[in-house]
Every structure is written in structure tokens, then in C-alpha cells.
Amino acid sequence: MRITVNVDGVGYTDDVEPRTLLVHYLRERLGKTGTVVGCDTSNCGACTVHLDGHSVKSCSVFAVQADRHEVTTIEGLARDGKLHPVQRAFHENHALQCGFCTPGMIMQSLDLIADHPDPDEETVRKGLEGNLCRCTGYQNIVKAVRDAAHHMRPGAGPEAEQVTEETRSPSHAGGGE
């Protein structure tokens, strides 16, 4: 089946089998190996990407369901060689050890900050409920997300780095919901 998908700002048209998972399409067809497969049981959240501006587990979406939609992966966050504020906050707060969960953690953190621009600790922990980290004990991840939110608040930096409701599409624009 032929699909046309915009991934990290670039349009792709490909023939895929209906059973191809979005994560496999991203990694194996497009070479976007920044998005990883962690658990294969849809628990761990390592494969989290954005579909039309909302976080999804790309192991639980078929590539055909992304047809005519927009996908953002961890590889689409940095601009002009500069880390996105959430990436920078993870780096500066030592919010990772092995780093395997980090792509998904960062994509979900971005979603969380879009819904809660100034999240307290409990909001961060609930918002990251679908992402597992086996190294850090989460403390520095929580710190990093709150730090990133602080840096992304309106007026805190370049406009392009801020997330507002207007920059996100309504979730029902995503297929398969």
C-alpha cells in the first residue's frame, strides 16, 4: 500500500505492507534509528514519536495509519546543530545513564510541557507514566523536564523553541483514533 508521510519536515512516499509498524518504517525504511524499540509489549515508551503533534507509541501504530499525516521523531528536534531545550535540559541535568529510554522520554516530555507549561513534580511523574527508565530512578528526569519547561515558558527564548496550543494539530486529525 502506498503512503505519503511527512517525517521531521520531509515528505516521503513509500509502498509498505499494512502490517508494517510505524517504528519499523521509521527505522528500517527511512533510517531514522534515533527512535528505538524497547519492549515490544507497548509498555516502555522508548519508541514515542509525535503524530500530528501528539505523542504516540510508534510500535502501536501501523505505518499505513500515518498516511497523509505528520510525524516528528527525536531526530527532528535539534535546529541548526543546536539541541532543543528539552534535549539540552536532559543533558545538563544528567537525566540519562544508558540513554536507551531518552528519545521516548524527550518526545513525551515535550508533549507533557505542551499540555502543562509549568508542571509540578506529580504532573511530570504522571505525564511520564508510559515511559520506563531502568537506570536513573527518574529523579533527574523529573528535574530535567521541569527545567526545560522553565526555559520554554513564554518569552524565555527564541519563539521557535516554545510550544503553544496553536502549533499542535487537533488529535482527531491523526488517523486511526
Binding site: P18, R19, S42, K57, S60, G130, S171, E177
Partner: protein
């Protein structure tokens, strides 16, 4: 793992979906948000020949005001239900229970109708649907029919839906002005309910005028706690009367024993969580 091969159909009308399901026979599956079905396909616990994806049926999304009730499209995502102001104002119990479904990523894709049709005994939405006397609106080859929640859930992962039926809308009678709470017990983040309690009450002058209580995972289907409801009505909204009513929570239930809890512990949980849910709802 990679799912087994299947033929993918994405109809653009409900009638077309029913036709595709009828042609495929017993070997077809309906794909709504896919947050249960896709993991099941990936683990090869199911391998249908045909998958009928309802994503293009935009008429099945959204919440509409229909007088005394809300009409919630079966393909409305959990995320949309959580944020909908009509649900917030008239079906608070549903909003609270939806907050407890899985995790944010799953709530962006998973749908209200999908969760009801999947009928997982540990799922968080069948019990609120039962407590609120929701009605399932189903389209099949013979046309449209309505089935009350009390008759919709038949057994573990089994509803009255035939293989070529599509759940299109859920009618949820408004409980405007009622207070509500969904009390979920589980051990780790994003886990299914070991037991949970959906409670909605209408308190008038300190007295419980009406009460609705239903239980998650206290049997193969959600269970209405009629004994608790009877015991609450007409009583003052005090700790004493709430606890006395909650003691009847496990009446008529048939809880399972599994790795998380045995039947006796589940019965205990039902009583304790019912007390907590009603207490939280009335703010006592």
C-alpha cells in the same frame, strides 16, 4: 514482533465497514485506536485475515449534546473525552475514569468505543458506562439497534457485538450536578486495575438522594453494586452510612484469582475501594 500478514481495509462509511466485515466473515477484526489490538497482533495472539480500520470515519468522533444525554462517537479518543467540556459538566465519572486509562500516549490513540468493544474485565471504562446506564448504538447488516450497557457485556472480552457489527455511538445519560469518583487499585504505573470502583452520587441537603456504583474486574464483566446503591439512598452522607453501604460491595460478584490477587482479596478491595470512592465523591 511483526504481526502476521493481513488485508487492510479503510472504509469511508459505516455501511462500507459493515459490508467489509460481512464479506470477511469471522476472520476480520475492527481496528479502532489499536492500543489493544495492535499489541495483540504483534504478539501473534490474534492473526485475522482482514483488518477493517475505522480511522476515516470522522462522523464517529466527537461528543454531542442530545438533550438529556450525551452522544459520544465510538472513535472519540480518551484524550478528547478527558478534555471535553460536555463530559466534564455532565459525565464527570467518565472523565475521571478516562484519566486513569493506561498512559498519555495510549490515551492519544485509544478510543472510548474501542475500549468498550474490547471489554477487558480490567479495563477502566466498562464500569463507568454501566454505572451511568449508557446505551450502545450499534450498526450491523440488519440496521441500527441500541443495547443498554447492562446487556452489552457478556463475558471476558465478549460483548453482544457480532463479527460484522460496528459500535458507532455511546449514549450517556447526563448526571448533571452529581459528584463522582473513580478509585483504581493497581501496583505499578500504567497497570490495569486489579479492582476499581466507579461511583456517582447526588447529594441533596446532606442526604444521598441517588447513587450509582459499578465495579471493575470483580468478574468477567463489569458489575453494578446494587446492594451498595440501595444502602446509600436516603442516608446521610456520613462516614458511618458510607462504610455500612460499602460493606455490601462484593455481593453478587464473581472475582477471579490470578497472580495479582485472589478472589477473597479482590472482595476485600471492592469493599475498601467502594468506601473510598463514595467518600471522595461526596467530599465527606
Amino acid at each position: 514482533m511483526i504481526p502476521a500478514e493481513f488485508e487492510y481495509v479503510a472504509p469511508t462509511s459505516v455501511e462500507e465497514a459493515v459490508r467489509a466485515l460481512t464479506e470477511a466473515g469471522e476472520d476480520a477484526k475492527v481496528l479502532a485506536g489499536g492500543q489493544s489490538l495492535i499489541p495483540v497482533l504483534r504478539m501473534r495472539l490474534a492473526a485475522p485475515n482482514v483488518v477493517v480500520d475505522l480511522s476515516n470515519l470522522s462522523e464517529l468522533t466527537g461528543v454531542r449534546d442530545d438533550g438529556d444525554s450525551l452522544l459520544i462517537g465510538a472513535m472519540t479518543t480518551h484524550y478528547e473525552v478527558q478534555r471535553d467540556h460536555l463530559v466534564h459538566d455532565h459525565a464527570r465519572l467518565l472523565a475521571l475514569a478516562t484519566d486513569e486509562v493506561a498512559d498519555p500516549q495510549v490515551r492519544h490513540r485509544g478510543t472510548f468505543g474501542g475500549a468498550l468493544a474490547h471489554a477487558d474485565p480490567a479495563g477502566d471504562l466498562p464500569a463507568p458506562a454501566l454505572a451511568m446506564d449508557a446505551t450502545m448504538i450499534i450498526v450491523g447488516p440488519g440496521g441500527r439497534r441500541e443495547v443498554p450497557a447492562a446487556e452489552f457485556f457478556v463475558d471476558y472480552f465478549t460483548t453482544v457485538l457480532e463479527p460484522n457489527d460496528v459500535l458507532v455511538d455511546i449514549r450517556v445519560p447526563k448526571l448533571t450536578g452529581w459528584s463522582a469518583h473513580y478509585e483504581k487499585f493497581n501496583r505499578v504505573a500504567q497497570a490495569w486495575s486489579i479492582v476499581a470502583v466507579a461511583a456517582a452520587v447526588r447529594v441533596s441537603d446532606g442526604t444521598i438522594a441517588e447513587a450509582r456504583v459499578a465495579l471493575t474486574n470483580m468478574g468477567p464483566t463489569p458489575v453494578r453494586a446494587h446492594g451498595v446503591e440501595e444502602a446509600l439512598v436516603g442516608q446521610p452522607a456520613t462516614a458511618e452510612s458510607i462504610n455500612a453501604a460499602a460493606a455490601r460491595a462484593a455481593e453478587g460478584t464473581n472475582p477471579t484469582t490470578d497472580g495479582n490477587a485472589d478472589a477473597e482479596f479482590r472482595s476485600h478491595l471492592a469493599r475498601v475501594l467502594t468506601g473510598r470512592a463514595i467518600t471522595a465523591a461526596v467530599g465527606a
